[in-house]
């Protein structure tokens, strides 16, 4: 009964939203954007702090807040502007995301950071583009986020690359011939990366012996895991949210699943290891940065600084999932903010009114050396990054396995 009422309400809301958004497919150059006025520049933080991705989204927010304490101002044309963060919660929900994006626009932000989770970013992309406000996605890896949207940029690598990296690790490094895939039905991130993994793994001569899906907010994976076990796959690739990973690992162990569990970038999160304990041992996943990589010297400083920032306040530790471990998404949040500030600073010398459209043009030409590597944007707005890092869970710690370079770039 409740479900029906909720469904009916949701569809009414969706319809009314669709009615509001119709008929304004203006090309990028025509939009006016938001002008910078006064001595404050508002940057929107568009992240989920509740819902399925609430935990990871919060860690990204922490990275952005930390970056804001490091560089709280920017000088443009002789004026020192304070940078104010305007945070909204997109609730990991595609409908709520559009509302959250509109509230950011109406509060007068000139740039937006986020979001964790590709689905919500795709849903809100059009809102930002129509308002002429540029957005930098920090950790959303699905190609559709930036495709066809002049105002969306991103600081991380993409799912096709990530899927290939994991597939080549499984097929070439480990020599697996058979693999199973478990992905979340209707989730752009999960199904996207699963498809790229499948494609790459099959190209490398492997066979996908089980391709299973589960529903959002599913908590019982026993049936799916039994199917995977039965397929006798040598490894199982599970691109999923942190919440799902903490549920699926103990169940896989109890189920006696022998297949090697491979994860995606979301898995770089200590709360998974804390919750799942020894069930997480041996899991291998791809991620965005490694603090010991010498080609990114800023990484070490960031890790130390961010740890100190977290330890200053017990509340921050709680929000970070109960540890002072540095998640890759925090690093990407930091890089996203710094990229935005670098682009703002490059507006120095621009004549006339400063608007968010100027900021977009500055972002397209930005060049910033970040924690997760050098950031310049391609035509589509994606960071020209060619490296992914593989890590493994050993004795409850993340251990660096290898750095994978994209040879097609």
């Amino acid at each position: 009964m409740k479900k029906f009422i909720a469904l009916a309400l949701a569809s009414v809301m969706t319809l009314s939203l669709a009615a509001c958004g119709g008929g304004s497919d203006a090309p990028a150059s025509d939009v006016a954007g938001t002008a910078i006025s006064g001595d404050t520049i508002k940057i929107g933080v568009f992240e989920p702090t509740t819902g399925e991705n609430g935990g990871g989204g919060m860690q990204e927010v922490l990275g952005i807040r930390y970056a804001n304490t490091i560089v709280p101002t920017v000088d443009i044309n002789g004026t020192t502007y304070n940078i104010e963060l305007v945070e909204v919660d997109n609730q990991s929900d595609k409908t709520a995301a559009v509302t959250a994006a509109q509230s950011l626009i109406s509060s007068g932000v000139v740039g937006v950071l986020g979001s964790y989770g590709s689905g919500v970013s795709i849903a809100a992309g059009q809102t930002f583009a129509e308002a002429g406000v540029p957005a930098i996605g920090c950790s959303c890896t699905n190609p559709q986020v930036t495709a066809g949207n002049d105002f969306y940029f991103r600081t991380c690598f993409l799912d096709p690359f990530q899927g290939t990296v994991m597939a080549s690790y499984a097929a070439e490094e480990m020599g697996y011939k058979t693999a199973a895939i478990v992905s979340q039905n209707g989730d752009d991130y999960s199904t996207g990366i699963a498809a790229y993994f499948k494609q790459a793994f099959e190209q490398l001569g492997g066979t996908i012996v089980a391709d299973e899906t589960y529903q959002t907010n599913e908590s019982d994976f026993n049936a799916i895991l039994t199917t995977v076990k039965q397929s006798e796959a040598e490894c199982v690739f599970i691109p999923c949210s942190i919440a799902t990973a903490t549920l699926i690992l103990p169940q896989a162990k109890a189920n006696g699943l022998q297949a090697h569990i491979l994860g995606s970038d979301t898995w770089e999160n200590e709360s998974i290891v804390i919750a799942a304990g020894d069930a997480a041992e041996g899991v291998v996943f791809s991620t965005f940065f490694d603090e010991n990589d010498e080609s990114t010297p800023m990484a070490k400083d960031f890790v130390n600084g961010f740890k100190a920032y977290l330890n200053e306040d017990a509340q921050r530790i709680t929000l970070n999932g109960g540890t002072d471990g540095v998640a890759a998404v925090s690093a990407l949040g930091y890089d996203g903010y710094m990229t935005m500030v670098t682009a703002l600073a490059s507006l120095d010398g621009t004549e006339g009114d400063l608007t968010s459209v100027n900021l977009r043009d500055a972002l397209a030409a930005v060049n910033y050396d970040g924690v997760t590597g050098n950031i310049t944007f391609s035509e589509t707005g994606d960071a020209n990054k060619d490296a992914a890092y593989l890590k493994k869970v050993e004795d409850g710690k993340f251990v660096f396995v290898k750095k994978q370079i994209d040879e097609t770039k």
Binding site: K2, E212, Q215, D220, T226, Q251, A254, G277
Partner: protein, 295 residues
């Protein structure tokens, strides 16, 4: 499908079905006595999970003490809800009390969101329940294995209680005819409170068995299992305890086999279609009594 796989699916299905059965009994008993569909039941199940987190994580109590506290707190919550939200409406039209139940459901969900935040919280681990055991080719956790056994034991005890004790007789009398049994000197409030005690006790047990192998608790976690158990109760014939148990097992097994066949997106759909089919062809459910309208 090999026979080991088949047995493993069966065990998974019976185990989740057992939990559904325990919760469905709460729906069916309250309906039997009050003719009320207690929509807040799924949320009482959710609150029981938060009580466990409080007891074991925040107060660091050992598991055996925690379980007692959780069951006591859940029972208390159920009885308080009955006294505050249902009792004052006992003589109102039946629709009012049902709307009150929906209100309590939303109240509990939003209260939990306000108090504990919407972020999923980890459910504490009870080590011996999570041990892996292997029987033949089937590997599973202790809790999955003992859930159906516990369910059968509880249903057996409950049936004895209803059929062979004084309070049980009173309950049967009240469910037959509310007003007459009141005239015969049955303390109606005691019987109703007792019904809620049993229903919430079983929801508390179900909660421990459900969340131990699925350790993620958030404020809306009770709503879908709650609906499924309501369907289980309707399927078995609302008001009938063996019916609710059977309904729970049928839904648990069919859900698992649909997922096993690779159609996980249809597992919930099936459950709701089952509700529609039952309502269309056998509205009183498998074991439901035929109600003849008296004029």
């Amino acid at each position: 499908m090999t026979s080991t796989a088949f047995l493993q699916y069966c065990l998974t299905g019976i185990s989740i079905g057992g939990i559904y059965a325990l919760i469905a009994i709460g729906y069916t008993m309250v309906y039997g006595i009050l003719r009320l569909i207690n929509f807040a039941h799924g949320d009482i199940f959710m609150m029981a999970a938060y009580f466990m987190i409080f007891a074991m994580v925040d107060f660091a109590l050992p598991w055996y003490v925690s379980i007692v506290i959780v069951l006591a707190a859940t029972v208390l919550l159920g009885v308080v809800i009955e006294k505050v939200a249902y009792k004052p409406l006992r003589n109102s039209p039946r629709m009012s009390i049902m709307i009150s139940a929906i209100g309590v459901s939303y109240l509990l969900q939003n209260l939990a969101t306000y108090l504990f935040s919407a972020l999923p919280k980890g459910y504490p681990k009870i080590d011996f329940l999570m041990k892996t055991i292997t029987i033949g080719g089937i590997s599973t956790s202790v809790v999955t294995f003992i859930t159906p056994i516990l369910t059968l034991v509880f249903v057996f005890v409950l049936l004895q209680l209803i059929n062979h004790t004084k309070i049980g007789m009173a309950m049967r009398a009240v469910s037959k005819d509310f007003e007459t049994s009141q005239l015969m000197g049955i303390k109606i409030n005691r019987v109703i409170s007792f019904t809620f005690v049993i229903g919430c006790f079983l929801a508390g047990v179900g909660s421990i068995l459900y969340f131990t192998p699925r350790p993620s608790v958030y404020p809306l976690v009770g709503s879908l299992p709650g609906l499924k158990c309501f369907i289980a109760a309707v399927f078995g014939g609302i008001g009938s305890i063996p019916g609710a148990m059977l309904g729970g097992f049928v839904i648990g097994l069919s859900e698992t086999f649909i997922k096993a066949a690779g159609y996980s997106e249809f597992s919930d759909v099936f459950t709701f279609i089952l509700l529609i089919v039952v309502l269309l062809f056998k509205p009183t459910g498998l074991f439901g009594e035929k109600i003849t309208e008296k004029v």
